[in-house]
Symmetry: C2
Subunit: 715 residues, 2 copies
Amino acid sequence: MIETVSGGDETLSGDPLFHARSVAVVGASAKLGTIGGRPVKYLQAYGYRGAIYPVNPKYDEIAGLQAYASLSAIPGPVDMAILAVPARSIPEALKECAEKGVRVAVIFSSGYAEVSGDGAAAQEALAESARQLGVRVLGPNAMGVMNLHNGLMATFSAVLERDHRAGPLGLVSQSGAYGAYIMAQGREMGLGFSQFTSTGNEADLDLGELALRTLEDPETRAVLCYIEQIRDGQAFLGACRRSLDLGKPLVVIKVGRTEQGARAAQSHTGAMAGSYETYEAVFRQCGALSVGSVEEMLDIAQMVELGVRPGGRRTGILSISGGAGVLLVDACQAEGLHAPELPEAVQARMRAHVPFAGVANPVDFTPQVLNNPDVYADFLEALCEYEEIDTLIIFLAHTIQYEERLGLRLVDETEHALKRFGKPIIVVAQSDPGTAVSRRLREAGIPCFEDPSRAVRAVAALQRFQDLREAYLKSGAPTSPVPIPKADVSTEQKAKRFLAEHGLTVTREALATSRDEAAVLAADIGFPVALKLSSPDIAHKSDIGGVRLGLSDSETVKEAYDGILADATAGAPESRVDGVLVQEMVPPGVELILGGKQDPVFGPMVLCGLGGVFTEVLKDFVMRPAPIGIAAAKEMLGELRGFALLEGVRGRQPADIDSAAKAISGLSHIVAGASDWLQELDLNPLIVLGEGQGCVVADAFIRVSDTESVRPLAS
Amino acid sequence: MIETVSGGDETLSGDPLFHARSVAVVGASAKLGTIGGRPVKYLQAYGYRGAIYPVNPKYDEIAGLQAYASLSAIPGPVDMAILAVPARSIPEALKECAEKGVRVAVIFSSGYAEVSGDGAAAQEALAESARQLGVRVLGPNAMGVMNLHNGLMATFSAVLERDHRAGPLGLVSQSGAYGAYIMAQGREMGLGFSQFTSTGNEADLDLGELALRTLEDPETRAVLCYIEQIRDGQAFLGACRRSLDLGKPLVVIKVGRTEQGARAAQSHTGAMAGSYETYEAVFRQCGALSVGSVEEMLDIAQMVELGVRPGGRRTGILSISGGAGVLLVDACQAEGLHAPELPEAVQARMRAHVPFAGVANPVDFTPQVLNNPDVYADFLEALCEYEEIDTLIIFLAHTIQYEERLGLRLVDETEHALKRFGKPIIVVAQSDPGTAVSRRLREAGIPCFEDPSRAVRAVAALQRFQDLREAYLKSGAPTSPVPIPKADVSTEQKAKRFLAEHGLTVTREALATSRDEAAVLAADIGFPVALKLSSPDIAHKSDIGGVRLGLSDSETVKEAYDGILADATAGAPESRVDGVLVQEMVPPGVELILGGKQDPVFGPMVLCGLGGVFTEVLKDFVMRPAPIGIAAAKEMLGELRGFALLEGVRGRQPADIDSAAKAISGLSHIVAGASDWLQELDLNPLIVLGEGQGCVVADAFIRVSDTESVRPLAS
């Protein structure tokens, strides 16, 4: 963290990235349209009240400000330096920053990792130098940072050519140009931003830390992130947790989702983005609101801007058009909200006004309102007073714009109901920005969306955030995983013993080193049994005939023992053989596949899927960052497309879902606790028995990070 | 069809619904804001050049026009009558219409099927009376019809309070108010409509016929439909076919998709909408472009308005921001377009201008363009000249609005490239409607979208339409199914014989009436065999032990024969028994379930799914209106989520997909040909063998419409 600055002007106290009391523009130009000139121009235009020091030996004065030949020539202290000089001058400039006591350097210069291998080396050197000098760096190749609340416009982004008002929306973008476009689009929608940071190449300050700093800013109520790749997974996860702590949504758009998109992102930034599935799993688990388009992002932003939070999933729909009511109900159900049928008393109250109105929910107040606006007020009151409605969505079409007097009246009534009952109200209507009606809606703090589906999607997203936040606050801070010392997990039996020591139920089994011992062990375990080759060198036993199932008497067991060893000698002559594992046959149940891995960006991950065609054909699996609790594990199971199989279909008994969830949660703690040595883990299958009967790990394979435990089968 | 009208004024020749030469407003009012006053006001305001006859005995004159006491008092002929009178006066008014020779009556009056059972009866009587009198009726409970090209505004919709310009977009809506909202939203986007028809209760003219009439109008280039339910499936299918014939897209939004939405739609219109899956199957098969939101509909409309049609799926992406390029590529892949990598020669040509630009596709022309707009022109030319790019999508951000001179220059270059190369070009940029840049884009016929994902979705939708159209035109008009006379299909064997006569391969099998005969037949067919109870009364044989599989010698066959009869006597003592079917055991393969049914709205439908968990757990099946050709049947299989199973997963051999497609197509012709007696058909399973080895119907059940063939098992 950068230490905060403190000054007499309170807009210039806090994180120096957003509140620097003084800014030097190194490479400043008197041509105010150039990259070196624009920061000076924008700092002045937006009324920045700290000191501005243009630095350029070629000038005495720039835009009415005294110019300095160098950073050291500046008389007062400098919190932030903007470096608008060629890449080759950066090493020297950075040294001067350190000497001058600069806290943060904003580096516009390009020609680093985004262009070539040489550039990447230069960037590495820059990062190292900044660390040693104790100067934090934004960039290089960054469009800069701006704080709309104090005019600290350390940027050359031409988006400031039009006037932007300050608001509650933070923006952190890995594309400067696209970030600016988001700001420009937000402005058209009447939204106000607090800060916008273009992260550039992230030699030092990276997306996660910048999102966190933006969240911490008191003027900010939500942070929008445009993401191509996350470099520091833990920093990002920290930002997600802080977002839940503070109740400030972190709304993210991740690009490079598809194969072609990922390829394009890689060529744009020079770095691999990692699998989109992993990102989505992280977003979902950690409470980041992932959106599919910038429009969706700005729709959520509009709700935040006006301070509206949905009150729950039970939605009341009030509409001037029956058709729109149907559309809204469809959208609600598709997005996980619902429109409960109103009780007869509420319906009767509304029917008293308009006998033939549809009043079950959606409520259709009909064009009757054109003759008598009181109908609207009464319907609205009835819905607000009914306690089992949490949130109201009201469709008013173009009517409020086309018939202004009526429109103003309806807005008044809506504001009145909002103040009186405090239930969140969202309007869907034409929202011509210049009109009196639109102004009144905004003043009343009522969001207005033009498209019904978009309105519902925004409401549902914020509702999801609130639900996640509630669960998060209730469960407290996530327990850090208990470190698990390295163990020998080189064979199926050892891996399972390790899992059993950490709470999972595994098959009863024992290692036989002779055919007779196998028969004795089998009798002990109870017929039928399975026999499996035990070798630290062979991961896929069945590929070389190393597995025999359903052996029901001693003789068969002995024959199977011999057969397995013969096949092993033939199929993998170089492999060490410990013996043959004699194992109970688990009764039939639903087969799950559980897995764990260490993701290079986000660390330990746990996954689960259903066996058979679900995995092979449908690739149906769900992932989460580990560790997770039992409730989250249950959620994972619920997200499987084949979940119905666990619930019991076509008369089959339901499976023990609770115990499967416990196993997943337990496994996630193992993957997280053993993250320094356990690389990958595969339980295939975990057999889930009937309700109340538990689940059993029937096979397990663990790969440790030094990869010593597995020699490839073929040489 | 209504006969066309013909007049000297060519805007008043054609379908009288849109081109009536004279309009009577029955129930006209001098208060021009009322329902009876508005048509007069709007007809005048929009410059309708035919005769307007207000009819109301209370007035001598309305809005400067002579008023008449009755329709019969009008001196000249009347093509259209607007009936703005209470429902109780409608029967008399309709008779007067017939006497006066009115071709079409537009009935605003409500109080029919939408309110009560009595209302429904009145509506039925109205429809019957209209048929007898030979007057076509729009409504009742309709907001009316408007033609923007000749000012025939037979409507009370207040959407006309603002000025709308005429354009190429037809609109047919089952919600008057929501249709008006679509028009109002389109107006804000600068779109122009040709006609808007509110269908009302559809006592006579229904959605399908109205869509067809709108398609036929020469001023219309696309028809937008808001649909709650389709009453006449064949009329709608006819409109779909005409849309493909004419190359005018039919863009549909169907509401009531979800369970709650369907319930709401039912209470809105008083009629069941039918399953959304059936609608989607019809839309897909018949070339209607189904959209999820009105916004998506209007985005497609914008492309149509400007006459832009995508040229193919190979998309070139040119962007001022690398980030937007990634987002666009993602969107393309998600929507079935793709951005092929450019060949080195094209890349080199662009790199010559901007050495470090990403030029593989997406092409990032970088902010370099701010210094030198020629870069843009050269990049654009390179992309246009490269033959393996069909369509261009260009991201220009807010820059073209914020820097107007540059913006105008870029638009000029884009228009130049468009004219020179004729490749479709779509721009994504801020599209502030009032600016010079936006005006220039529109004049140049270049669609401009603000959101990249929306732009790609619209392009992909029109591309889909073109592909469907091409396939449709190539395959010619659909062959009408050959009628299939009623057959006895009361048992599995009879049903299969019937299927075999119509080209499907079924299991070899024969009916045995004694245990010895069963053994002889089995030897003849070849062991192993299956034995199945044959009874016209029992549909689910296995439920009462009527099926024995894998019998491998004579003795087992004899025992099975006795067992089946004994079980049948015990389990279903009242059922008739024909004997026992001896059947070959088909070798293992991929099991499909094929089905057919007569949908109450759309008629014959064919469906297919994969057996096992795919059907039981995932409800994974695909439906189409029958009959279909082999190519469409193959498409159906490709849409199954488990399709990979047919292609062969994990080393399994691929199945004979061609033969399965032939079976589906064959079955679809049976369902269609026998539609007057075959109610439902179920082939479970159809076993698809390995490539080149065909597929075999292993079990079949057919229900005929009088349901005589199946008596319930339990009394």
